[in-house]
Amino acid sequence: MVLTNQFKLPTEEELTVPELNVTAAALATGAFHLGKYCEEPCKEFILCRDELGDPRKCLDEGKKVTSCGIEFFKKVKKSCLAEFTQYQKCLISSSSNFEYGPCRKTQEVFNECVKAHIGIDRPRPTYFCEPKIHDSKRPAPALPQYPKYDDATPGLPQNYPKDKISTESTQGVFDGNI
């Protein structure tokens, strides 16, 4: 009972795109390379989402992110499927939350394959926890405008003598006369 007819919502055709139809294990397996491959669309999308705070205004950026992810997984499937499956199997069976520590050997094999066929290095482990600077072509949103009221408390005049202004240390019981 919140949505009125004046509230603009995108149509079903605008929202229907091929989705990234992979499991959590596959996402965890390819996470680092995926994030590196789709770094620019991801940064653009997250910046838009963070600045505007409105999913309706960031649909195009989101579609670019998803199509980039599909493109990456298609490339992996084409060239590195065996290595990918091996690494994924190790991640699934080693821990309950896809920890990368126990699977360095299979990870190395997968990294070499991706480096050879897709041409991207695995970023360092802290890469996606670091703050990043993104220069977007989209204009920045306007700052919120606050109203100005006429009866606000006026400040002191510019030429008010400084020794009459009570400082922090002399305020209170002494009233400036110690």
Partner: protein, 150 residues
């Protein structure tokens, strides 16, 4: 009345034993020096083990978190589209449900809006109660994590 030899209560032959009034100490295995040395060694080993493992665990957590951050945009993009789709479906379902009620306007209570200070087209989020308004209540429980796994 014959005379009977009378016996006085006397201590056993050899006398009573000594009364132990002094403190009987336990048998001691260590003295204070060795206790202090053992304490120091075990503390040092514990600190060394902690320092060796805490960095490994921190590194693991950072790496797992990094991977989650990397896939976050993909999940968020998909979630946004699904949310907007469901919002449209809910609005259509409300219009269909309340079409026979006279004076009903979609999104308002007979013309009274929910929010007075929020613009008509301003995004204010969408609560789970609204999202599951026209769905089976069990699906809401699934979302909350209270459903029974049967």
């Amino acid at each position: 009345m014959s005379s009977v030899a009378r016996l006085q209560d006397l201590p056993p032959p050899g006398g009573f034993g000594k009364i132990h009034y002094e403190k009987v100490p336990h048998k001691s295995f260590f003295n204070g020096k060795w206790i202090a040395i053992t304490f120091g060694i075990s503390y040092a080993l514990g600190i060394a083990g902690y320092l060796a493992s805490v960095n490994i665990i921190k590194r693991q957590r950072i790496e797992t978190q990094s991977a989650r951050n990397a896939i976050q945009p993909f999940l968020l993009a998909e979630r946004d589209r699904q949310l907007l789709l469901q919002m449209r479906k809910n609005r259509d379902a409300e219009a269909e449900l309340m079409k026979d009620v006279e004076g009903w306007e979609v999104g308002t209570l007979f013309g009274t809006p929910v929010y007075n200070t929020v613009g008509e087209n301003e995004w204010i989020g969408y609560r789970p109660n609204s999202y599951y308004a026209h769905a089976d209540p069990d699906r809401r429980l699934d979302y909350e994590g209270f459903s029974l796994y049967v």
